[in-house]
Symmetry: C2
Subunit: 93 residues, 2 copies
């Protein structure tokens, strides 16, 4: 089954599925600023668009563009700001 | 706005959005065989999983794996078979 998820009043939508390597989602973020919390560790890859990300324990944000990725440890929070509709792949470990 | 789309009784779900380059969707296909029809030309990229594709005017299928893409002309039909949950990016020109 494909799992449809909606966050932040529909401003972030994702589709969850399973691969041989584990669980993943592909999703789209509307422009805005969001705080996410991880359960397991995640690898986030920008498919199209761009994210400004503040990772756990950091104060400086960094820009993650198309094709680039960042890793978020388990059980932590991170902030994401997008200025254009941005699609992403999230791989859970 | 992010557009949620469901095809083939929920076996193919996608999320539509717009970039500077035009319209795109990210989506997930359940295992199965599907025939799609294009309006405008499309570039389909496999994000995770694998697709066996028969392009318009061809009889031989070809396997399109993770990170690979294929192009489909406007106003044409193509067949896709997937054996595992497969995520994709579709860029409309």
């Amino acid at each position: 089954m494909i799992n449809s998820n909606s966050y932040f009043e529909g401003n972030v939508l994702s589709l969850g599925y399973t691969t041989a390597a584990g669980k993943s989602t592909v999703g789209v973020m509307e422009p805005g600023s969001y705080e996410f919390g991880t359960g397991s560790a995640e690898v986030m890859t920008v498919i199209e668009g761009e994210m400004e990300v503040v990772l756990p324990g950091e104060t400086e944000s960094k820009m993650i563009g198309k094709g680039e990725f960042y890793e978020v440890p388990a059980n932590s929070k991170f902030q994401v700001t997008v200025n254009v509709q941005t699609s992403y792949l999230c791989q859970y470990s």
